[in-house]
Amino acid sequence: MLHIVACIKQVPDTKIIKMNPKTNTMDRSSAPAILNPYDAHAVEEAVRLRNRYGGVVSVLTMGPPPAVKAIRKCIEIGADEGYMITDRAFAGADTLATSYALTKALEKIAQTRPIDLIICGKMTIDGDTGQVGPGIARRLDMPPLTSVNKVVEIDSEKRHAIVHRKLEDGYEVVRSTLPCLLSVEKEINEVPYSSLPNMLRAARYQPHIWSVADLPDIDKTQLGLKGSPTIVSSVWAPPKPQGGTMLEGTQSDQVSQLLDILMARQELFAAASGGEAP
C-alpha cells in the first residue's frame, strides 16, 4: 500500500494569454485557468503506480479558491483525495515560499497517512522554474530525483524506488530510498481521456481545504511575498525584431536569389558535398 502525493497547480493558459501593453501585466480574463499540463503527467503517473502496487493517490495544490477546479481535473484522471491550501497570506510566493507552504501541508497530510512518494511536474507554465519540486524534497529531507522519464519499480518492502533520469543523450538508472520526490518529464506517460465514473465522481468531489491557521507550527514570516527572497523589480515587453528583407519576383526568381545567398556561405556546406575538403 503506497501513499503517493502529486503536487499540482492551476495556471493561466499562457499560450493564449493577452498582455496589457501599457502595464505589461497579464489580462487574466483573457486566459482560461487550466491544470498545469506537466502536472497532469505527474497525477497520471501516480495513478498508474497505485494501480500497479495498490494504495492511495492524493493531490495537493496551493492557490486561490477557484483552483478547486484543477483538483477536480485530477480526480477525473483518477486521484483519490484532493487537498488545497488557500489563504491571502500565501499570495506572491516565489519558489522558496511556495515549497515552504507546500511542505507544511505535506507534513499535515502525512500525519493521517504517511507519504511514500511525492510526484511533481517538470515545471509550471507560469512560474516556469522547476524549482518547487526539489525545494520540497530538501525541506522534507527526501532525495529529489528530477528529469524522471520512467519509473521502473517501487518496492515498499525494501523501501526503494528505481527510476530512469533523462540525460541529454540517453538516461541513467537510479535507485533511491523511499520516501523520495520525483519531478517527471511529460514523455513519462500519456494522459488518457477521463472515464465516465471518474468524471461523475470529480463533479461532486469536495477537497480538503486548509488555511494558514490549519497548518501546525507554521512560521508566517516564511510565507507569501514576505517570505520570498526574490522580487520582480520590473517587467518590459520583449524587444520587437526589426523585420527582414522580403524576396520578390516569381517563385523561381526567389529561389535563385535564396540560392545566391546560400552559396555566398559555401564553406558551411563542405559536409554536405560528401567528400573531405581537398
Binding site: 522558496l96 530538501r138 528530477t146 541529454e168 538516461y171 520583449p238 527582414g244 558551411l268 556546406f269
Partner: protein
C-alpha cells in the same frame, strides 16, 4: 547576514564527457564581466572524479580561481553529494553571486542549494547585469510564456543565485596558457550515507544530430500540413547537411521526436543558418532561435510574425518552394564539386 563578507562571482562548472560543458564556458564569459564591474574575482566550482585538470581550461576562459572537489564519490552527478560540496564551499568562501547553467544538472543542483542556504534563485535567466556599487544582481528572463521580460532581484540574501540558459551568453576567446589559483577542497562524505545510487548509464544508440551543435538547421512547422509535407524539410536538410528542427506543435503532433523541438520548452539554438519553414514565429519559438546567424523564413502568410524576426523572407507555399530550393541547391553543389575537382 553581513553582506560585506560575500565577495566574488562564481560559476558552477559542469563537466561533460571529460570536458567543460559549453554552457559553463559561456557563464565564465558572462561572469567575467560581472566580476570586472564589481572589481572582484571570478571563481569556478568544479566537482567530479578526476576532473582537476579542467581547472586549466577554466583559467583559459576567464576564471581567476577554481575550487576543486575531486573524489570518487562525485563520479556521477547526484543531488545529495554535489549539493553537500557546493553548500560547504559557499559557507566557507561566501560568494556574492553564484551562476549555474540552466541544464538539468545545473537546475537540479541550484534548486537544492537555494533551499538549504536559503537564498533566492532566478531560473532560466537570459540577461545578467550587476549594480556596480551595491553588487545587486539584475537577472532578467522571459516570463508568462515569453510574453514579457522580467528583472528579478534578491535583495535580502547572499549569495544571489541564477540559472542561465545555454547559448545566450558568450564565452571569451580562449587564452592559451592563462593561469590561476587552484583551491583543493574536501568534505567528509561516506558512500553508505548517500541515499541514491546510479546503477547504470545508458547512452542512446541512435545518435541523433544534436540540434544545439549544428551549423545549419532546417526547421519545419505546422504549416507543412502533414508528416508527408514535413518530408520536404527533411529533404532540404539532407541536401544541405543540416539538422532538422521543429516547432512544438509539430512535435506534439508526433511528426518528429522531441529532441528536435526548438524554443522555450525545447532547445535554444544559434546555428549559422536557420530556416523556419511553415512556422508562424510564436514568441516561444523565437526565443529559441532568434540569435541565429542568418534566418530564412518561408511562410504563405505575409503577416506571419516570423517575417519580423528573419533576415530573408519568402511568401509562398513551402510545399512547392522548398523542393525547388532543394533541387537548385543540389545542382549548384554538384557544379561546385566539379569545379573543385577541376582545380585539383
Amino acid at each position: 547576514m553581513n553582506f560585506e563578507d560575500y565577495r566574488g562571482v562564481w560559476v558552477f562548472i559542469e563537466e561533460k564527457d571529460g570536458a567543460i560543458a559549453p554552457v559553463s564556458l559561456e557563464l565564465l564569459g558572462a561572469g567575467r564581466q560581472l566580476a570586472d564591474k564589481r572589481k572582484t574575482e571570478l571563481a569556478g566550482v568544479l566537482i567530479g572524479e578526476n576532473i582537476s585538470a579542467l581547472a586549466e581550461t577554466a583559467f583559459e576562459y576567464g576564471a581567476d580561481k577554481v575550487y576543486v572537489y575531486d573524489a570518487p564519490i562525485y563520479r556521477f552527478y547526484r543531488t545529495e553529494t554535489y549539493m553537500r560540496a557546493m553548500l560547504a564551499c559557499v559557507e566557507k568562501h561566501k560568494p556574492e553571486i553564484l551562476l549555474y547553467g540552466a541544464t538539468s544538472t545545473g537546475k537540479d543542483l541550484a534548486s537544492a542549494v537555494a533551499t538549504d542556504l536559503p537564498t533566492g534563485l532566478t531560473a532560466d535567466t537570459t540577461q545578467l547585469d550587476v549594480e556596480e556599487d551595491t553588487g545587486l544582481l539584475l537577472a532578467s528572463r522571459p516570463a508568462f510564456g515569453g510574453n514579457i521580460m522580467a528583472t528579478i532581484l534578491c535583495k535580502k540574501y547572499r549569495p544571489q543565485m541564477a540559472t542561465v540558459r545555454p547559448k545566450v551568453m558568450k564565452a571569451l576567446p580562449r587564452k592559451i596558457g592563462a593561469s590561476g589559483v587552484v583551491v583543493e577542497e574536501c568534505i567528509p562524505l561516506k558512500e553508505e550515507d548517500i541515499r541514491t545510487k546510479v546503477l547504470e548509464i545508458v547512452r542512446s544508440t541512435t545518435r541523433h544530430i544534436r540540434i544545439d551543435e549544428a551549423d545549419i538547421i532546417v526547421a519545419g512547422g505546422k504549416g507543412l500540413g502533414s508528416p508527408a509535407g514535413f518530408k520536404v524539410v527533411q529533404q532540404l536538410a539532407e541536401a544541405l547537411g543540416a539538422a532538422v528542427g521543429a516547432s512544438r506543435d509539430v512535435v506534439e503532433a508526433g511528426w518528429i521526436g522531441h529532441h528536435h523541438q526548438v524554443g522555450q520548452t525545447g532547445v535554444t539554438v544559434t546555428p549559422k543558418i536557420y530556416f523556419a519553414i511553415g512556422i508562424s514565429g510564436a514568441i516561444q519559438h523565437l526565443v529559441g532561435m532568434q540569435n541565429s546567424g542568418l534566418i530564412i523564413a518561408v511562410n504563405k502568410d505575409p503577416a506571419a510574425p516570423i517575417f519580423q524576426a528573419c533576415h530573408y523572407g519568402i511568401v509562398g507555399d513551402a510545399l512547392t518552394i522548398v523542393p525547388m530550393l532543394t533541387e537548385a541547391f543540389k545542382s549548384a553543389l554538384g557544379r561546385k564539386e566539379e569545379a573543385d575537382a577541376g582545380k585539383v
